[in-house]
């Protein structure tokens, strides 16, 4: 029997609206630093995290808000972190690129491209060693295929049959450079060379992502070794909030095409309506709820206190 996809819709929408608010906060100067929005890629995080247990691990990237929310993070503490407040997940010390949420197995976003691939593989080693049955999903952009450490850890994961799922989010660009200009040969062959089971999926279709991730997680949890899931997706916005003039590296037509026809929310909404699993009013209710949630969370965070300046030299050592 087909599962209930409305929660997935709600989760993707939560990410979308959260990111829209982040965008506004940055543009209005209320947030500082760098923000890399996940808009357009929501189906990947949500589809994969749906296939995980609550105690499974994930690692994330500079474009990490979506992974974090998909693994169950709270909106208010996310906002608070991005605003540098003491109630943030990292007491404001991490910011957008370093949110970790230990209780939900989120070992953290990472601002070094490929920087979490070692951590993810190590978490998988640890889970296997401790016999907990946990797996770790390691999210990264296709730009990480340029980082040698990924091959080092995939090799060990394969040798030791570690329960790790490498999730490659191919959104076609490494920052402002097309992935075709930085990636020779085949992306999935990069994993297959190590004897890793690889699969490819439409990253805009959360149901397809979930199906593929479930298969991969199942075999990897069963001790059959790591899996690699290549998700074809697209970021709808700039590389970061400030990346506004993009014509030199991608066309407006391309953007319009993805936004118009490949929006993961629209794809799922269409299926929900067509299959009769939900009605327009159902979706409107969800939208209203998510909007209200996000607004409330943002308000809480905007009111939250900054950390005391004396915290600056706390947490250097445990």
């Amino acid at each position: 029997m087909e599962m209930d996809w409305l929660p997935a819709y709600e989760q993707m929408l939560r990410i979308r609206i959260f990111e829209e608010h982040v965008n506004t906060l940055y543009r209005s100067g209320k947030m500082a630093g760098l923000a890399h929005l996940y808009i357009g890629e929501e189906a990947v995080a949500v589809g994969v995290c749906l296939a995980l247990r609550p105690d499974d691990y994930i690692t994330s990237t500079h474009r990490g808000h979506g992974h974090c929310l998909a693994k169950g993070a709270r909106l208010d503490r996310m906002f608070a972190e991005l605003l540098g407040r003491a109630d943030g997940y990292c007491r404001g010390k991490g910011g957008s690129m370093h949110i970790a949420d230990q209780e939900r197995g989120n070992l953290g976003a990472n601002a070094i491209v490929g920087g979490s691939s070692g951590i993810a593989t190590g978490a998988a080693f640890s889970a296997r060693y401790r016999g907990t049955g946990q797996v770790c999903a390691c999210f990264f952009g296709e730009g990480t295929l340029g980082q040698g450490v990924l091959y080092e850890v995939m090799n060990m994961a394969a040798l030791w049959r570690l329960p790790v799922l490498y999730v490659c989010e191919n959104n076609l660009y490494n920052e402002y450079t097309p992935a075709v200009d930085t990636t020779a040969g085949s992306m999935r062959a990069r994993a297959e060379a190590f004897g890793i089971q690889a699969d490819e999926v439409d990253g805009q279709d959360v149901r397809a992502v979930y199906a593929a991730a479930s298969r991969a997680v199942e075999r990897t949890r069963a001790g059959e070794g790591p899996s690699f899931l290549l998700c074809h997706t697209y970021r709808f916005q700039g590389h970061h909030v400030g990346d506004v003039n993009r014509a030199y590296y991608r066309t407006k037509d391309e953007e319009d095409l993805w936004r118009g026809q490949r929006d993961p929310l629209r794809v799922l909404a269409a299926w929900l309506l067509e299959s009769g699993a939900a009605t327009e009013p159902d979706l409107d209710v969800v939208t209203a709820k998510v909007r209200a949630d996000v607004e409330a969370a943002e308000a809480i965070a905007l009111d939250a206190p900054y950390p005391d300046p004396s915290e600056v030299d706390q947490h250097v050592y445990a």
């Binding site: 500082a32 630093g33 760098l34 540098g84 407040r85 943030g88 990292c90 007491r91 404001g92 010390k93 991490g94 910011g95 957008s96 690129m97 370093h98 990472n110 601002a111 070094i112 491209v113 490929g114 920087g115 730009g143 990480t144 295929l145 340029g146 980082q147 040698g148 490494n174 920052e175 402002y176 450079t177 200009d181 930085t182 990636t183 030199y248 590296y249 900054y306 950390p307 300046p309 915290e311 600056v312 030299d313 250097v316």
Partner: protein
């Protein structure tokens, strides 16, 4: 505030980013062996737009967009440098030097020596440093101490557009691997440069401000901070000398020591972490060479010994400020 400098008229006003770009463009025009490797360096001109326009003039064969492979393209640059080219590598954030450390420390720095002087590695690693950009712990470090420790490398820390341009041009012509740190926050800083081409020598400090009461040795971003402090100190009746070594390797010990012998008091300011940082070496050298002239211990100001936090209220506490430098100078001069 802008730094003082004496250059021959006519002069033009350009930003620090333009200075870097001009240096590269001039050297690339001069020598076809100069090529650039890095992420998003071509059409994007880097995220800081420092290299904008270069690919249009020199083409993609010379301004080479790479995959996100710091170790790999730095290694490629080493090999290219050993075989007739003069590569300039772009490491977007200084924090990513860690990814290319083997190539820089074990390869580039050592090839000339290990080969008994037969092979050379004329390459430049351009990278960034500096915090307060709200970029958090992995995009804010000032790691000049790490490379300054390694024999075989030269290390440049320009503080003005004039210095950036002249020193980068010299770096590109140098026969050795040079690590060149640009403060991200300084790219929009303006300053004058002469119309004509010029090169600045390594190992020659620049006295950014003359004074007689206290010597402030400051690098890169901290030069502006020191000059601001010096301005403030004037109203305290303290006349500060501000010396910018411009290169930590080689270090112009003579200029620094001569100054301290006159002022009897020294402060060293650098944006790297204080502990085991650049300030330690410079302070130690001053103490060694001007011991009997010193009225008080050399004071060091560096970044707080913590990873750089994101939250602005925290981050602003990590970097030395003009107020701290001024206060330190007042203490040294017995006015605190």
């Amino acid at each position: 505030m802008r730094s003082e400098m004496s250059v021959a008229a006519p002069a033009r006003e350009i930003t620090f980013a333009q200075a870097v770009r001009e240096a590269l463009a001039e050297e690339m025009r001069h020598d076809p062996a100069v090529v650039i490797f890095g992420e998003d360096v071509a059409e994007a001109g880097t995220p800081f737009k420092v290299l904008s326009g270069l690919v249009e003039e020199f083409g993609r064969d010379r301004v080479v967009d790479t995959p996100i492979s710091e170790a790999g393209f730095t290694g490629i640059a080493v090999g290219a440098a050993m075989t007739g080219l003069r590569p300039v590598v772009d490491i977007m954030f200084g924090d990513f030097l860690t990814l290319a450390m083997d190539q820089i420390v074990n390869q580039a720095a050592k090839v000339h020596y290990m080969s008994g002087g037969r092979l050379t590695v004329p390459m430049v690693v351009r990278t960034t440093m500096g915090a307060t950009r709200r970029s958090a712990a992995q995009h804010s470090q000032s790691l000049q101490a790490l490379v300054s420790h390694i024999p075989g490398l030269k290390v440049v820390l320009p503080s003005t557009p004039y210095d950036a341009k002249g020193l980068l041009k010299s770096a590109i012509r140098d026969a050795n691997p040079v690590v060149f740190f640009e403060d991200k926050m300084m790219y929009t800083l303006k300053g004058t440069v002469p119309e004509e081409e010029y090169w600045l020598p390594f190992g020659v400090a620049d006295v950014k401000r003359h004074g007689s009461d206290v010597t402030i040795v400051a690098t890169s971003s901290m030069v502006q901070v020191a000059l601001e402090a010096a301005d403030g100190l004037r109203s305290d009746g303290i006349d500060a000398e501000v010396i910018d070594p411009r290169t930590t390797v080689p270090l112009d010990v003579a200029t620094i020591v001569e100054s301290v012998k006159r002022t009897s008091r020294a402060i060293v300011v650098d944006e790297g972490h204080r502990r085991y940082g650049v300030t330690a070496e410079i302070a130690a050298v001053i103490a060694e060479e001007a011991f009997s002239y010193l009225d008080a211990p050399v004071r060091r100001l560096g970044a707080l010994d913590v990873p750089v936090p994101f939250s602005p209220v925290l981050e602003d506490r990590t970097v030395p400020t003009a107020a701290q430098v001024r206060e330190t100078a007042r203490e040294l001069c017995g006015r605190a």
